[in-house]
Amino acid sequence: MTFSYYPGCTLKTKGKDLETYAIKSAEVLGVTMEELEDWQCCGAVYPMAKNEIATKLSSVRALVAARDKGQDLLTLCSACHHVIKRVNNDMANDQNVQLKANNYMALDVPYTGETTVIHYLEMLRDRVGFDNLKKAVVNPLKGVKIAAYYGCMLLRPSKTMAFDDAENPTIMEDFIKAIGATPVVYPYRNECCGGYVAMENNAYATKKCNTICTSAKEMGADMIITACPLCMYNLDANTTENNLPVLYFTQLLARALGVEEDAQ
């Protein structure tokens, strides 16, 4: 199984761990992640305004590159996944964006949203299969109670993201079960951590983070996992009450697959 892989800015710097563990684990699972050449930053924020075109072009380039390789486009960072998937949806359904972006890029073959954008977690669920993942686990994380933190980007708006039930997702809980640990369901796993204001307004972000961590802890969690570098940073740095260890889900994956050390 080979995918075009889009890493995004953070995974090459502060979010390295998310990527290293992911690539190492993918190898174990027989998945090859071919990093796109010359990828550009997706911008980290999906431009909601109907009249924004230029800010969507870097995503289109990544989508076109994957299409030209005849591969699905694999993402890992929640924000990149969100931006690229929504831009892809625009390219398929918004005639204005489609027309202007194609005019601007002057491609040999116009792009109309043909590429499938797939998040690493979706890849585990839909391509590898959690049952197969379970079989590949050599180091089941027995007894560890893990709270999945989904955040906003992967789930909403569900009509476009089509990732999971936005109000009652199960993909990360199923992942946790597959690696042998016990999922802890808590109500704020899909509520915003305040990532966007983390830089400007710590106090505000702290309120949000505390709600999430407190809720997870009250429900009995030992740790929190996430797929987003910004959530990771925010929950880690800005929580002041009921702190819990926050890890990338890929690190636990690597741990369960017995390749955590190799990745370091």
Binding site: A44, V45, N51, V197
Partner: protein, 130 residues
Amino acid sequence: MSHNKETLREIVIETAGINPRKCMKCGKCSGACPAYDEMEYHPHQFVSMVEAGKIEELMNSEAIYMCLSCFACVERCPRGVEPASFIEAARLALIRQSGKNHLKAEEIPAKLNDKLPQQAIVSAFRKYSK
């Protein structure tokens, strides 16, 4: 002035790409919003104020920087109104004017720490500057 007000209203509605008249004023957006207590105007008010043409009030309100863009209001709105899109449109109406950037490059270094991910800086620029 009234012409200006009307034009602004049109710009915001066009940018958001949403008809504010679809709103049935149920308030579910404001029931869902995790930033409610931080905001001067709340999601449902954004919709009704855009409809009423009170764009300048929104542009001048700190509320436009308090929205977390978490899309909870978008997800849960029964009428497909997307209050977050109006907030973004009001913000853009402001920062697209020259010199109205909310975040200026020179302010950045002071806000950095060694753990802060790139994503935070990139997104802040995207959201708050042009």
